[in-house]
Symmetry: C2
């Protein structure tokens, strides 16, 4: 039992429905980095359709997350909204330190 | 954004492979409560086959988790091993208090 480890995952829910967690966080960060839902979906190895539906699922809760700028040659660019940017930053703040707390609690109990 | 909440999940891995988390914990507790893999699987609404394969997956890591007593009328009983009992208890110890730490961190960041 020497190589037993604890893993953890946190996510946000609104009205008891998934709002923001692993996959959607990666998607928002990829859109922010690439400036395009299409490029982001390719980077993550998911279909454009899936990426698009994830954005729509998030926005169902009434918080705009991605702004699509239509037109231009090669299609429109997409950027994440200030609200999405704030949520990403707050999520990081919550996550920071938590893994350490969890690891410490685990060591206390399992390696005592 | 008033009804936004944080959710969390912890699980154990051995050699980077899932060992013990939500579904398997419920299964072990149900076996402990009912004294039978069959009754436990019915209680959880999963097939006997699935319950059995979950036990086998856990035991692949070399820790005996469930002891099957063969024979008797109506088939053998099953009990969880002392090792499994200890793991369940330690898991509870780790989990206890963690949700509170996570909620506090969330409130600090999101409701400040």
């Amino acid at each position: 039992m020497t190589d037993i480890r604890i893993r953890s995952k946190i996510w946000l829910e609104i009205n008891d429905r998934p709002f923001l967690g692993g996959g959607r966080l990666r998607l928002l960060r990829a859109i922010a980095a690439t400036g395009s839902i299409n490029a982001a979906s390719q980077q993550l190895g998911i279909s454009y359709r899936k990426a698009w539906s994830q954005v729509q699922e998030m926005e169902k809760h009434g918080i705009p997350m991605v702004e699509r700028e239509k037109g231009g040659s090669g299609g429109g660019r997409s950027v994440i909204t200030p609200q999405a940017r704030e949520l990403l930053s707050k999520f990081d703040d919550v996550q920071e330190g938590l893994h350490q707390v969890i690891d410490e609690k685990f060591d206390q109990v399992f390696k005592a």
